[in-house]
């Protein structure tokens, strides 16, 4: 018990919170960016533009089927070879955005497919163009339908930021590792605290998604 009290000293907790802030920062930016990019890619896959949709689909499939950790290595170690040198924070955000956009593209595409085709026809019969109908009628409904899936994907994103500890991003898990690395009596208290912090954020988000889902339904 004494280990827990010592481990949760203000200095350590402050250090963990600094890590948590990086986790939150990376998550928020990646969530916003991947929602936008993922939606565009999902629509592109759905509308079937010759070649473009096939190429987008192929790339999305490749990214979806790789472990996120590899994509982190590619953005951090690989991109500089192509002449672009991201810092560690940016490299992580980029990796998360690339991976999650591909995951979301698939979700959005499935969502659009699930919206009744009649809706599209009805909108067009009322004089809307294809793009208008897609943007104003079909897409909002697709997002509404897939909110639980999208939010659970975002929860995965938040959890997955912990993988960036391998490239020493100073996020929550990394800061916990630094603390217990210096005093191994703190291993269990640190794991408990880190798990608790992730849990609070992710659980809050999943409750929010359920509320949102009920309200919109």
């Amino acid at each position: 018990m004494q280990n827990f009290i010592d481990a949760y000293s203000w200095v350590n907790i402050r250090f963990l919170l600094e890590g948590l802030w990086v986790t939150v920062e990376v998550s928020i930016v990646s969530i916003i960016a991947s929602f936008i990019i993922g939606s565009v890619l999902g629509v592109l896959r759905y509308v079937k533009i010759k070649y473009l949709s096939a190429i987008v689909g192929f790339i999305v499939d490749i990214i979806r089927n790789l472990p996120l950790m590899l994509i982190i290595f590619f953005t951090y170690f690989g991109l500089p070879h192509l002449g672009f040198k991201p810092g560690i924070l940016f490299a992580t955000i980029l990796a998360m955005t690339i991976f999650e956009s591909a995951m979301l593209a698939e979700i959005v595409r499935a969502g659009i497919l699930a919206v009744d085709y009649g809706q599209m026809e009805g909108a067009r019969a009322n004089g809307m163009s294809y793009v208008q109908a897609l943007w104003h009628i079909v897409f909002p409904q697709a997002v509404k339908k897939t909110i639980p899936t999208i939010v659970s994907q975002f929860i995965s994103l938040i959890k997955d930021t912990s993988l960036a500890t391998i490239i020493v991003l100073p996020e929550l898990l990394n800061h916990a590792q630094i603390i217990y690395g210096q005093n191994s009596a703190y291993i269990i208290p640190m794991f408990v605290m880190v798990a608790f912090m992730y849990f609070v954020i992710c659980y809050a988000l999943s409750v929010l998604s359920r509320v949102l889902d009920k309200k919109l339904a």
Binding site: P80, H81, V168, I178, G181, Q182, S184
Partner: protein, 278 residues
């Protein structure tokens, strides 16, 4: 059958894509700029340092800065190279990430308990050695292991860190042992504590730091290799290499080196800092 052909075609396409990308990757366009000129212009040298290694580079949780022998040497060198107002910037690295980061130009130089080896010299250039370490073993106080010979048994597990020279060495000195590679020293120590391996192996300086931090563990077996630490630079950075070597000689001559050595190793049990003084 048709589907099968499509999968094969797809996999072929993927491999082609990978080969094309890797061909781009092997193009040598990187960090051809002169690091010394750039650093002088920005008045900053960016060093890659460890943040999980007591005595050499350890994160101080209370003020979020990295402290240790490597860090102090880097600061002293920066002052010699850039003048009194020169700034030293520190980026955390692990044994696994340091060489890619250097080659990518994220850092200007590595000063992170890095042994000068012929294999590494094919990829990077080293300064003169700034510290002489030797590989040793960390075990539980109750352990029967006395030297590296005791590890050379089938079924014995030895803990090391990915990318560290000590992992390659142990495969030579105890070929029958199985090596478990963890991502950094904090993880390696945690693995030793939870009994995942019989011993943790790396350089003596690092191990003394670990033994000081963790009661119930001791360094055994003396040193069975010579591990001269060097500062790593990208190939083709001769001006920076010369500047660092000159600065090293200067801090050794004016006593700065010995002062830093005493500060970190003066009170380490089992380590004779006077022997290492220059």
């Amino acid at each position: 059958m048709k589907k099968f052909k499509r999968y094969i075609g797809l996999l072929g396409l993927v491999s082609m894509l990978a080969i094309v990308l890797s061909a781009c990757g092997s193009r040598q366009s990187l960090s051809k700029q002169d690091v010394l000129t750039n650093d002088k212009a920005s008045n900053t040298i960016t060093w890659g340092v460890k943040a999980d290694t007591k005595l050499f580079g350890l994160m101080d949780v209370s003020d979020n800065t990295i402290k240790g022998f490597d860090v102090d040497i880097a600061k002293a060198l920066t002052k010699k190279i850039l003048g009194k107002n020169g700034k030293a910037k520190f980026v955390q690295v692990t044994s696994q990430t340091r060489i890619p980061l250097l080659k990518n130009g994220n850092i200007d130089a590595i000063i992170a308990t890095m042994t000068i080896t012929p294999e590494r010299e094919k990829q990077v250039d080293f300064s003169d050695s700034y510290f002489d370490a030797g590989q040793s073993l960390l075990v539980k106080n109750s352990s029967n292991i006395k030297s590296v010979k005791d590890l050379n048994k089938t079924g014995t597990k030895v803990i090391g860190v990915t990318g560290a020279n000590s992992v390659a060495n142990i495969k030579k000195y105890a070929p029958k042992a199985k090596v478990l590679e963890l991502s950094d020293y904090a993880q390696a120590m945690t693995a030793l504590k939870s009994g995942q391996g019989a011993a943790l192996t790396t350089d003596n300086g690092i191990l003394y730091g670990m033994a000081a931090q963790n009661k119930g563990y001791k360094v055994v077996g003396g040193t069975f290799t010579k591990e001269p630490y060097g500062i790593a630079l990208n190939k083709g950075q001769q001006p920076m290499q010369k500047a660092i070597n000159k600065a090293l000689k200067e801090i050794e001559a004016d006593g700065t080196y010995n002062r830093i050595l005493k500060k970190w190793f003066g009170n380490v049990k089992g380590f004779d800092y006077k022997e290492a003084a220059r």
